[in-house]
Assembly symmetry: C2
Homo-oligomer: 361 residues x 2
Amino acid sequence: MDKKRVRMSDVAKAAGVSRTTASFVLSGKDCAIPEVTRLKVRKIAEQMQYRPNATARSLVTGKTYRLSVVLNLPENFHNSFSMMDRYFTEVISGVQTGAWKKGYNLLLHTIEHPDWQHLRDDILSGASDGCILIARFADDPLTTSLVEANFPTVCVSYRIDHPGCCFVDAENRQGGDRAMEYLLSLGHRRIAFLYPGDHSSWGWERKEGVLDALRRASLPESALVSYSWQENRNPESCWLMEVREKLLKDPNRPTAIICCDESRACWFTEHLPEAGLRVPEDISVLGFNSTIISQRTTPPTTSVAQSLTEIGNAAVHVLDEILEGKLSAGMEHRFPMQLHIRQSTAPPSAEYEKKGSMERV
Amino acid sequence: MDKKRVRMSDVAKAAGVSRTTASFVLSGKDCAIPEVTRLKVRKIAEQMQYRPNATARSLVTGKTYRLSVVLNLPENFHNSFSMMDRYFTEVISGVQTGAWKKGYNLLLHTIEHPDWQHLRDDILSGASDGCILIARFADDPLTTSLVEANFPTVCVSYRIDHPGCCFVDAENRQGGDRAMEYLLSLGHRRIAFLYPGDHSSWGWERKEGVLDALRRASLPESALVSYSWQENRNPESCWLMEVREKLLKDPNRPTAIICCDESRACWFTEHLPEAGLRVPEDISVLGFNSTIISQRTTPPTTSVAQSLTEIGNAAVHVLDEILEGKLSAGMEHRFPMQLHIRQSTAPPSAEYEKKGSMERV
DNA sequence: CTGTTAGCGCGTTCAG
DNA sequence: CTGAACGCGCTAACAG
């Protein structure tokens, strides 16, 4: 079997010095130890293939140089890993870069079902110095419990209503506003708004932005038809198809859709035509995130972009500052959103426009 | 600041029992401790918000229930994180599922440049029980050094030439064979083969498979024109464009391309037409992996699929068995590959076919 | 069935 | 500058 790992005391003995000395030179402290001894100890350590034991070191220093990362669960439990979603891929990419720059590794907690108490215990076990939670919800008990336990925590793309909550997110309100402003400028006057529901801070914020633009244009809130996928517990496709059915049967059909989720938006871009609604001739589709997914639909989907890698990166920086004690709790970082106009949006067709105006009277 | 965490001894004291007793009931051992004391200790622990310290526990048990994961580096260093590649996304997804089933968390080592010695020390620091290396190369010094250090290690999608090397991969040779067989059956007689080079086990294996099919059809090896991107150190696009140039200028131009990398294959599907080569009319393109990336090019790209999630999942199982001592080193797991025929491949056009036959005489 | 004791490997203080 | 000594929080012998 494995011979025992060589310990620091082994190195010290072999080098003919005390363990203290060995400890000092091997942890690279700037204490006053003669250059000769330093070199000798290092050389012996190298020869003996000495590797410091991270666990023992963590036990005494209280630092692990690891950051916990928790993704949310996909809403349909078909797929076990939200990382399949391009959103997570990009955020994690930014987190990875930030972690590297600050000298952390990432501890990816594996979860398959919403057993948040177990997950909380795992996070609080001391295996990491802090925690980055990604795309969870405003009513998430896990987040609340971590923040209340005073565990260094940063939320990405959402926040909870607690004074100690630190988070990094996009300017969702501004993004929603921009999306709506654009559709209004094209002439749309009846617009469907598809979002997760008000338990999601980004869903809620984007909705507020959309309403801002509506009010600024002096249009009634009834111009917006909201659909929430919050309560939906059926497989994904069902909700999408139900919404499509409702759109088709609506006598006063919206001429545009704003959909807060990228993959759902893309589904509409590609699957409304099957049901007889051409995109963008009969109906415009506007989504969010604007990753490669939106770029590659037919036609490409207009989308409100956020810099996901930048957000992930910032999350690590904020967490690092908390850990360094440079930051008080309750910080908020926001990044702007930007509209990427593609071919899934166009002015409403004359026919629908006319019909719309008549009914508005 | 933070009050000290409550320790097991605090719980024991509060419950009026010894630390041993507390330890036994809190680690859920099946020893004979009266139900009353168990309940009492548990209740006190709950009230005091006791969380076992994973570091201390690991120090004494020698187990962390963490698995190290190391991705390779993207070959162009523009993008810091290979996880942006769909290949990694899917493999990690499988790894995550497997890890969850076996009760492990994942330790994602952050690396930005090829400082493999530092990375090796990090992996050998005892912060994890074993290691999964993904899509590295046959000559990778990191892999060699870990295997030789006898650290529990599983390679995914590659292997090194060492008796102790455990790996999980697809049947690359069979996949290459199948791809070539298919193109030959369409009538292609001159085919370009784009691969990383022979330092990559999958590149080499797929090439062997391609040659198998060629030999079986009694065709000369000269029917295959190989291009390797191994030596290429320029930005990605340059290599792609250079190959495209060479294809264009080839008087005896191949009528089909087999490209071992999915995103490169997709680039050809979409960017050969710009240069005047229609796909598939003038030239067929066949790639690998067959993820959503291949499905969504215009036209969709024919591709040899492998079940990446299954491979990732298997990697964890193999590693777990090694850790449980159920498995000797040097295991190999292979998964079959399957051809997904799409619209980027077709019989060679009559003109090229004729020209090809004349020149073959 | 419970308490006592000895480490796990390392960081750090405090006399020599 | 070094060695002895203590403690991080917990597990697991070994006695009582």
